[in-house]
Subunit: 338 residues, 2 copies
DNA sequence: CCTTCCCATGCAAACGATTACATGCTGGTC
DNA sequence: GACCAGCATGTAATCGTTTGCATGGGAAGG
């Protein structure tokens, strides 16, 4: 029966029309007469015809898919952004191709590869550590960055990172903390740097002393949060509160210091960033800054689709609001010793 | 310059050969003479030619991509499996298309769609709740299931779920627990049912009493773990230990009972399943059963690729070992009251 | 020197759709 | 009745590759 795939020719024969009419019936039903339209649709149903996407794409000079390039697929942080992207791309009939920049030897080379391979009509870039030069390819498809950003001409969708940091510091200061530290993201990462700058700015604005040794470097992972915890435990003069550039680091830190007998928030206050799912299920629940990741994905996808449709290479960037999420991990500082 | 894309014709002209030779040079370099091969490669480099994947796929009757169909993209549990899949598919020059079954109205319809749309050469299925009938499509591409399974003819890659449950129960029993409960995954899920069966089997084998009211239903999420915690807190006769069908539920449960003043493991012992990243960063670290998710993804991808290459629709299933991960969340039961 | 064979290459037909352009028909207007 | 407009449909070129078959030339063997 269905041994060979049915083509548009088969449908045309069955309906007694030309292939052109079949194609038109499926693409713009309004231009064909009602009777023929019905005949064609019946023939389609009978033969079980499905249009061959590859052939269609070849003729229409498009691919029908979008590549999402992220630093590391295994990082659950991106899962929700992917969900947001998919919720827009799927209804718009675009496939979502996932690739990461870490698995190969040269991340920039991967980007170039995907930009020139013609495998996609557009690209969503979630890795801000790539070099902007890799994007300077004539005739490349449109690119949108999400979460991170670089250069000024590349459209991006991101949150108010600096303001989030300021909200965290402000909250801790209002609780009475004066000795506030920060655990950063990886050096060279624009998110990490912006949050650090936001932290410094807020400390200065409030008039709190800034101890450079209270700024610990992390890389957004739980393990690096735990490493920061080990460093904090050995400090002679410890900050009474810490703002983390990511919830993952905050969680890794909190777990380790709790196992070392430190009480949160009685001995130490903690504020994270992102509001990942586990945050509210920790004990105590994590006080954090919410970053609406699904929404970021949605907006990035919408932006990219509009660029694909209009053929633009550049577009407006969008900055999305953050929200303060109170938890139990931040409280008043312990009474001063000595 | 690069206004129009360069085609194989341009390269052929530049190298002074036919398009056939160019194609052969790129596909099987061994069949063309050394001198011509070099001339072609030079021309390719000069013109910046990239083969048009769509045209190539059309001619070769393939798509060069694989669809991964999962219940919910936002679930971080799948992120590591995706990483495993990608680590095999990318080097093999296959694109990885991601789609979920939840976003549309009818999950089965989505599966049918992807099986018939001819958008992929193969499909990795991570959702075992779909009906097997949806797979009975003549001429469909090969399908491999990962983590879950259904039917007997569909190849799958999964872990020893029953054995993992038995390991958990055995550990708790050796610590002295006799009152052991279980929080299950969602009804109808094959993983949930197998782990539940493993739990019942182990309890019986060891000779421990089974209280049906100590078997709480969850759905693998942290929220459902928290809900189970609320139920446990209201129980008059509480189990002293709980085995959870997922780490997420265990984490959600532990957070809530800890905030209610319960001490883990002094008052209650907890064992999870999966060994998600957060497990070892909780306080106490979660005792759990490790499921090597990256490896599952790797094996599933390898299996699928071999099926694509050989044109088989069926293949061997594979069951991967689990590993007991000791943590701090399981300890001896509290001394009996009254 | 003549076969025979094989190797490297070219020719041209697919792959399956879309769409600009041509055509034929219907119906309205003067 | 002639003419024109406009609509529905058909014809055929095209998208960029891959690959079965044909071809030509050189080497090897007699």
């Amino acid at each position: 029966m269905d041994r060979k795939v049915t083509t548009i020719q088969d449908v045309a024969r069955a309906a007694g029309v030309s292939t052109a009419t079949v194609s038109r019936t499926l693409a713009k039903p309004s231009v064909v007469a009602k009777t023929t339209r019905e005949a064609v649709l019946t023939a389609v149903a009978e033969t079980g015809y499905r249009v061959n996407a590859t052939a269609s794409n070849l003729r229409r000079q498009r691919t029908g898919s979008v590549i999402v390039l992220l630093p590391n697929i295994a990082n659950p942080f991106f899962a929700q952004i992917l969900a947001g992207l998919a919720s827009v791309l799927t209804p718009a009939q675009y496939g979502m191709l996932i690739a990461d920049t870490q698995s190969g030897p040269d991340p920039d080379e991967r980007l170039t590869h995907y930009l020139t391979s013609g495998q996609a009509d557009g690209l969503v870039l979630l890795d801000g550590t790539l070099s902007p030069e890799a994007l300077e390819i004539p005739g490349r498809p449109p690119v949108v960055m999400a979460c991170e950003w670089m250069g000024r001409d590349l459209p991006s969708v991101r949150v108010e990172n600096g303001r989030g940091a300021a909200m965290a510091v402000g909250h801790l200061a209002r609780l009475g903390h004066r000795a506030i530290g920060h655990v950063t993201g990886p050096q060279g990462n624009v998110l990490a740097e912006t949050r650090l700058k936001g932290f410094r700015g807020a400390m200065e604005a409030i008039g709190l002393p800034l101890h450079e040794e209270w700024i610990l470097e992390g890389d957004f992972t739980m393990d690096s949060g735990a490493a920061a915890a080990r460093a904090w435990l050995t400090m002679e003069d410890r900050p009474t509160a810490l703002f983390f550039a990511s919830d993952e680091m905050a969680a890794g830190f909190m777990g380790l210091v709790q196992r070392a007998g430190i009480r949160v928030p009685q001995d130490l206050s903690i504020v994270g960033f992102d509001n990942i799912e586990i945050a509210q299920h920790l004990s105590p629940a994590l006080t954090t800054i919410r970053q609406p990741r699904t929404h970021i994905g949605v907006r990035a996808a919408e932006l990219l689709l509009s660029m694909i449709e209009t053929g633009t290479r550049t577009g407006p960037s969008e900055v999305i609001e953050v929200e303060f999420i109170p938890g139990g991990s931040a409280g008043p500082p312990p009474p001063a010793r000595s």
